[in-house]
Symmetry: none
Subunit: 258 residues, 2 copies
Amino acid sequence: MLTFERYEKILQLLEDQKVTKLADLVEATGASESTIRRDLTILENEQKLKRIHGGASLMKSKVDEPSMMEKQQQFTEEKKQMGKRAASFVQDGDCLYIDAGTSTQAMIPYIQAKDIVIVTNGLNIIQEALQHQFRTYVVGGYVKSGTHAFIGKGAVDSIQQFRFDKAFIGTNGVDINFGFSTPDPEEAQIKQLAMKQSTQSFVLADPSKFGDATFARVADLEEAVLITTEGDDREFFEKLTNVAKVEVVNSDDLHSHS
Amino acid sequence: MLTFERYEKILQLLEDQKVTKLADLVEATGASESTIRRDLTILENEQKLKRIHGGASLMKSKVDEPSMMEKQQQFTEEKKQMGKRAASFVQDGDCLYIDAGTSTQAMIPYIQAKDIVIVTNGLNIIQEALQHQFRTYVVGGYVKSGTHAFIGKGAVDSIQQFRFDKAFIGTNGVDINFGFSTPDPEEAQIKQLAMKQSTQSFVLADPSKFGDATFARVADLEEAVLITTEGDDREFFEKLTNVAKVEVVNSDDLHSHS
DNA sequence: TCAAAATCAATCAAAAACATTCAGAAGAAG
DNA sequence: CTTCTTCTGAATGTTTTTGATTGATTTTGA
């Protein structure tokens, strides 16, 4: 039986039963226990199923949310990998601030840690967090059209009520001198404050943002860990790694499956 | 039997019976007493149930709260008409509080007034308001799974920063003596506060809510204008109109389609 | 109020499930 | 045909889950 056929069979059995024991899968496919385990790990990484002790279950999102959200926005592979890396920093019991935006949204499905709390100012983050059944708090404020971020006095007041272990921030510009920046000063203010309230900060930015200095500065490069991918401009990237703490999603990760 | 399946079974038994003895769960699952105890502590941590001496009971809030998804379907004609009526009270320049829930959501497409501001604690309301390009503010707070309403201290703090011209509130129970009520005390608190901060209040409730007194009281019948449809129970309806200010969507409206 | 009965939390050893490693098999590339 | 890579299954030691036992706590009923 081909590897790919096995994947199909596993997923099909799951569709039918919602939960499946490892032993059942071994019997159904004729493969060994080790192989099935490997398959499950891979399929879980691709968000096709959720592993549970003793077997696997359908993704929660598929159980109670019929695929609407799913195709609403497909993340690029790049974003997924950045998200996965970001999620790997989350530990059990953490209180997280997750900034509005799609980059940050992409990390949520990959968060494995238990007992975490998410605070956010993003409509999309709320939805994603709900789908994955995280304990979620939202800051108040004006709902900005376009980005659907909550900003303004209400947001500021809310964030000041919290302290975070880790803040995950999106950005529009990464410049060696000007640091992280974003076009809207109001949004910049929120990001700044969230980082200030957080013990540790992470900025997610793909290489298309490199070298851009947009209107409102958010923070210096030293103030956060930058999660990104390598990109084309090796020269800029060199300079970057000298100044900022950079977490690179390397090409191996990028080209592995899916 | 898999751990996950056991959880499902426990929750399902609870759905059926509202309270369950430990011994029953042991028998139903075939697991040991210790294991069931452990399961219960875990499920309680996840807010799925409440432990009681000798067993477990449903969370109060879940007692009769239909999940968001079930309600989410297309608006009924009834709801649309109630929404249209509610919207007719909105005037140019109003500051509105619009409560979480589908009844209130249904009014948004019908709002004609210009320069209005919407404040809400409902995820669905934000989305609908954005679609119709209204100036929207959101209160902070804990995101309640199920209804997707924002509640708790954050929400209270936020609402206290505002004054509204009109508040539109949803409810689960309309009882002659007990007034308006809803199953979750935390949600009731928010509704109460919003009404207090508002010059005028409207409650939207279809006749299926008539005669129900759920766990937490929101307000007396006199404190708001009730927007509803006639329904079957003429007798109850008579009594209602004696006590409350009622706006009835009459049958003509109902049958003249949107 | 008190003591017996029931229920509970905490602990521990056995069992089940797990990740990891390694050597061999199957395929692909040269 | 050989070499290299990828995939597989068995063996290893580790982690998680489980059920029994203990003593503490709560409820019951007199």
